[in-house]
Symmetry: C2
Subunit: 434 residues, 2 copies
């Protein structure tokens, strides 16, 4: 089976009309996907995308078109080589390297190739990954720039040690699912009554963790966090998320003020590039919580690539690794990030939401549980209840857990009518007077 | 004066036909510019560009088009606000933030606005900058994410301390120029005889420093560096440049083997994102040279933004700051980087070459000398003798120094016939059988 054509789409949802998705840095996102279909010389197609929040989505799509010649004529048996071909072109590499628009595009193509691989094998991607041998998994990774923190041999040992019990853990997943947390109560645009109502509903629905957006106004944040804490009680974890709003000193001061309400983690306190800044914030908040408990630090949705994650881990800058399915170079680079997290003993709690990110990351966390970390302790996948209705196989949440996807592929395929309606700028959703 | 239109061009030079510009990571670059003209309601135009090495240049140009609406209707009196408007759009920011294609595009537009400002004032950009007050310079900078390393108040003090002597230093520059070093002898594609001949010619031409590319083959590198050292003698500085070819341990081993030939610096030993890796390499090579001299570490041409430079400085990871005129957000972000370098006492030795980078960075180094560091010690601007003939006001090198540009603007304007001939893919230079 060979890829014979690459179709691309600029898909945008006018989510800025509501205040869903509003936070301190992103007041009015239009959740969008630069969407790609890999057509083959067989009836099977691979679907994938990268996620953006509106303006500039045309650039991500154009970058997929720029990379398309590198996948034409390729199969999906050697997905390590497939991914490296997309990130190693000596001329295109100048545009990153491995960051920004060109890396978002690589993610879309690599994820689409994994969808194709899953469909060709008749299995969901988490299961395809979970059945690969340690050596096959090692070969997926681009090891350049990693070996000072993790060598292929160390990774092999780590994967080999997790081989026993793979089947039992897969069965556990099928039975119980994988824990989720929900950001739905916490958008900045919501008033206090809505925050309290949604927080209460989240607990009733079985979630053990919720998340609130912070960073626009300290008094508002104290009031909202106190309200949420009073609503859910002391046992439910409440994470907070500043979406890069602060400088280092401001992050420390602000979180010290919120610490009495026992926030579980502070997410994106500052620039995603600032490894040392995160380390300083984490150190300063190590005993800031009730009874000297730490305020933990999390980041990842804007972390450009495995090299930055490597440093966040080496510098003890984060407690949680929030990988994103579409920011880094797709499944392959996320395998590297899962291996790094396992080496450094940090739980992976993927970023999701937007459009389709929940659908993708569930596969990565489930693979992590079956074949890498072998552990669900303190691990949760973000869940946001937006836009799932546009997918052929949307995620299923039951009792605060992701149910295991069973359909072949990466759960990445959108409905044809959604692709038509939300294509920018000519789809019906974008016509004047929509 | 207001900007009324933004014209963009995809300009590529088929430099891969020669081996000029070949290194261990970039075997066949086609030096390119995503070029922009800001047209105004007056006869004055602002010209600017970002640099790429070929494929994907269309994405940089498209990104300029995406950002163009943010500059239409703007003037160039408040270039701090102008720059922040280009990097703070909440939706477009997702594509970086402040890195990759979208940041290259911001650089092109911001640099073009400075060209316009210089032309409007009838002065070269280095002089416009050098005549601004400390507070006006502070206001150019986006201080977000910097204040843990440098506050506006500290920067103000630093600029205030450098105010006395501005006029004398500007006169010194006009009289003597600014020291250059040349990379022309050192491309990997050149045979030994050509390396020796060009190295010898460089010394005869007055250069005190040359640079060789390394990283493809250790035996070749040892032989070429030994040859160059024998050719130029012990007094001329020879920098080497690996263009990100190595992992950390490999960089240390390789440079330990080259250290007996007294390399002045190792440039881009590993990933530009790897702050901690650079720190490890620098520490390991601190006494590796002859008589326990350090092998110094330099990087910058792929450093995404001021936040990464901040960390390279905080972590004592580099000896030289190689800012690039087009990689970060143009003049404004480079003012921030010059201030950071001054705070941490590290010389700035800009990256140049490619197409037009020499023309731009000379202004930044000259401004640094007049109004920021006030110092030329160990400071040199890279010089490569490519493609200057396409510029209206090409750089002038005399006795190994950049002569001061005197024409109004940023020396950024290409000849109309070059824009026509090298436009990709329809210019004459790209027609079959060219």
């Amino acid at each position: 089976m060979k890829i014979v054509a690459v179709d691309t789409y600029d898909i945008r949802f006018p989510t800025s009309l509501e205040l869903d998705g509003s936070d301190a840095m992103n007041p009015d996102p239009d959740y969008s996907a630069a969407y790609v279909v890999l057509r083959t010389d067989s009836p099977v197609e691979g679907h994938g995308f990268t996620f953006t929040i509106g303006r500039g989505n045309e650039l991500a799509r154009a970058a997929i078109d720029t990379l398309a010649p590198f996948v034409i004529g390729q199969g999906v048996d050697d997905l390590g080589g497939f991914a490296r071909r997309l990130t190693h072109d000596s001329q295109i590499r100048w545009l990153g390297p491995e960051k920004g628009v060109i890396h978002l595009a690589a993610a879309a193509l690599i994820n689409a190739a994994w969808d194709l691989r899953g469909k060709a094998e008749g299995k969901p991607v988490w299961r395809v990954l979970s059945e690969m041998s340690p050596q096959e998994l090692i070969d997926l990774v681009d090891w350049r720039y990693l070996t000072d923190a993790l060598t292929p041999a160390e990774a092999y040992d780590l994967l080999k040690a997790a081989e026993p019990g793979r089947a039992e853990r897969a069965e556990t997943l099928v039975r119980l699912g994988y824990p989720a947390y929900t950001t739905s109560p916490g958008w900045l645009g919501y008033d206090d009554a809505k925050v309290a109502r949604l927080a209460s509903e989240a607990v009733d629905a079985g979630y053990q963790q919720i998340k609130l957006k912070v960073g626009a106004d300290l008094d508002d944040d104290v009031r909202r966090l106190a309200l949420a804490r009073a609503t859910v009680g002391p046992q439910i974890r409440i994470a907070v998320d500043a979406n890069q709003r602060w400088d280092v000193a401001e992050a420390i001061a602000w979180m010290t003020a919120l610490a009495p309400y026992d926030p579980w983690w502070i997410e994106e306190p500052t620039s995603p590039d600032d490894v040392l800044g995160h380390a300083d914030i984490r150190a300063a908040l190590a005993t800031a919580g009730p009874g000297g408990a730490p305020v933990r630090v999390a980041t990842g949705e804007h972390v450009a690539n495995r090299v930055v994650f490597k440093q966040l881990l080496r510098a003890q800058a984060i407690d949680f690794v929030q990988l994103d399915a579409c920011r880094v170079g797709g499944v392959n680079e996320n395998v590297a990030i899962l291996l790094l997290a396992a080496k450094f003993g940090r739980p992976v709690c993927p970023h999701a939401g937007g459009v389709g990110l929940c659908e993708l990351v569930q596969h990565l966390s489930m693979f992590d549980y079956v074949a890498v970390s072998g552990d669900m302790t303190d691990r949760v996948i973000e869940y946001v209840d937006h836009l799932h209705e546009h997918f052929v196989e949307p995620v299923v949440i039951q009792n605060g857990c992701y149910r295991v996807p069973q359909a072949p592929g990466f759960s990445a395929q959108m409905l044809p009518e959604s692709l038509a309606r939300y294509e920018f700028p000519d789809g019906e959703a974008w016509r004047p007077g929509r």
